[in-house]
């Protein structure tokens, strides 16, 4: 049975917790793996041997870099889960001037527990990632689906199309006709546009699509009465470390 470990880096651990919301299916899922380590529930340190590593959170310390290099060396498959792992996410919001922040928070005596801090970055900037589960937090069943891809293989792949196509299928109308900022037009699809379906604009937690057309999206904002500066600022929440948004 494939040995699986869960590793938590800089994050709120909300994605790990949300996996337990698979509730009805949780026992079935655990029955398919040999769960060797789950940082959220285990007191013992992570074992040295495993097959699949699930990583949550952004890289913010040199210690995390070492952990990841070790994880990559040992695991045959690495799955990153959540916005923080995929885009540097929430820690990434503080990327600018990051190294001056510990002193701002703690004063002269920065606790040792902070580790050797480095600017926040996504897991994929340190090691090769085989599978990614997007969003903040991850959808528990989407996680299960991706885990199964790692366990059994799969003939499906992630698309890079942006969100509006999925959103249209919900038939809720578009925020841009109401002069309301929404990041769907540059954010990677896959979530089914569930926030717009609940009446809330997309905040971009699935991350900027590699095929996002940011200049064209800015022109849409201009035409639709949404200030481009607000669009750019909103994009920083989940994409601050992505070089494409400064293009």
């Amino acid at each position: 049975m494939p040995r699986v470990v869960f590793v938590g880096l800089a994050s709120c651990f909300g994605c790990q917790i949300n996996i337990t919301n698979a509730e009805a299916h949780l026992v079935d899922v655990l029955g398919q793996i040999d769960l060797r380590y789950w940082q959220l529930t285990h007191s013992e340190p992570m074992p040295e041997e495993f097959d699949v590593a699930v990583v949550e959170g952004a890289v913010t310390t040199e210690e995390a870099v070492s952990t990841l290099l070790e994880v990559r060396r040992r695991a045959s498959a690495v799955i990153s889960i959540g916005a923080c792992a995929a885009t540097a996410g929430i820690p990434g919001m503080a990327a600018e001037g990051y190294l001056t922040r510990p002193v701002q928070v703690y004063g002269e005596h920065v606790p040792e527990a902070c580790g050797t801090m480095c600017a926040p970055r996504p897991v994929s900037s340190v090691i090769d990632v085989d599978f990614e589960v997007a969003c903040c937090p991850v959808d528990p069943l989407e996680f299960v689906r991706v885990l199964q891809q790692a366990l059994y293989g799969s003939n499906s792949f992630r698309r890079t199309s942006t969100l509006c196509g999925e959103c249209k299928r919900n038939e809720r109308g578009c925020f841009y006709g109401r002069e309301t900022l929404c990041l769907g037009m540059v954010t990677r699809s896959g979530c089914g546009a569930r926030c717009p379906n609940l009446g809330r604009p997309c905040n971009g937690c699935a991350g900027l699509s590699p095929d996002a057309n940011v200049p064209a999206a800015r022109r849409v904002c201009e035409r639709s009465g949404v200030p481009v500066a607000r669009f750019d600022e909103a994009l920083e929440m989940f994409n601050q470390t992505n070089p494409a948004i400064s293009a």
Partner: protein, 344 residues
Amino acid sequence: MLYRVIDASELPSLVSAFMETYEVVAPVRSGRSYAFEVIESFDDIVLDYPTTITSLKKYYLPPRETLFEFDKDGNEVRDFEMRVKPRVLFGAHACDINALNCLNSVFEDARYPDPYYEAHKAATMVVGVSCMPSEGCFCHLLDSDEARNGYDLFLQDIGDRYLVSIGSVEAANILESACSPREATDEDRIAFRQATRRRQAAFNPEIPDIQEIPMLMDAFHSDPFWEELGGRCLSCTACSSVCPTCYCFDICDTLDPDGKSGRRERVWDACTSPQFAQVAGGYNFRADGRNRVRHRMYHKLNGFLSAHDRNLCVGCGRCVYACKADISPIEVLRFFERKGAENA
């Protein structure tokens, strides 16, 4: 074709009669727009709706449809029975009926008949209704403003009554039992003629009427216009989600959470999706917006016509509203108009 006249006040009893045996889908309000949804009563229906966000395609080709189920461990396909609800699509505009006719010519192709599509179609009745064009409508420029076939009933609004074209025995029987259809009089025929003329006069004159579109598509295949149009594509695939005739799909296997069983599913795909033309080995033969948008427009305004003898664009205008980057067949027609002016 058989024609009868009913009073507008008889429509509720017609819909109620359908609801006795069928699930009835009709245009209803959805926020500031409209959508086809299952109705609970006649009062839910907004019959003078301009258009809906997505089309009736979803009832023939659902966005996600199970083709069969399988056991992973036994590597076996299970017996699978498709469940289809008998359904009436009430209030379809002529463009949308023509769009369904396009889908029919694809999925009923004798060489590759599609049993899933066939099952939906066999269980579905279509009741059309006449309409007045809105700003983005250009069905008349693509020969789709009249539904000549593909419906069970078509209701032509001629004032306080409807001239009803009858397309099937099943629907005729329901019409007969629920209403008091009568022979059309000269007065009815004149009212129909006037309604048709009013509609013809109401199309947006800003949308250019271009002759020989398929030939122009070939002639201007390498024009820089395609870079300008496709370069602003957001790769969101809203166009094909709302399009009543985009029928491309992908097929994928999805495991159930227990890892023991799964489903083979058909899901909507789109040629404006960046990976649509990516092949084994990773090569993508339509790797940018220019190529993808041009391809989509070609299929709509040129390619399908030569294979199926009808335009794959029915001028419904949905993509005109759905595309925030302002990419639509209307922009192509405007480009041809500019080219004509330059040459003159």
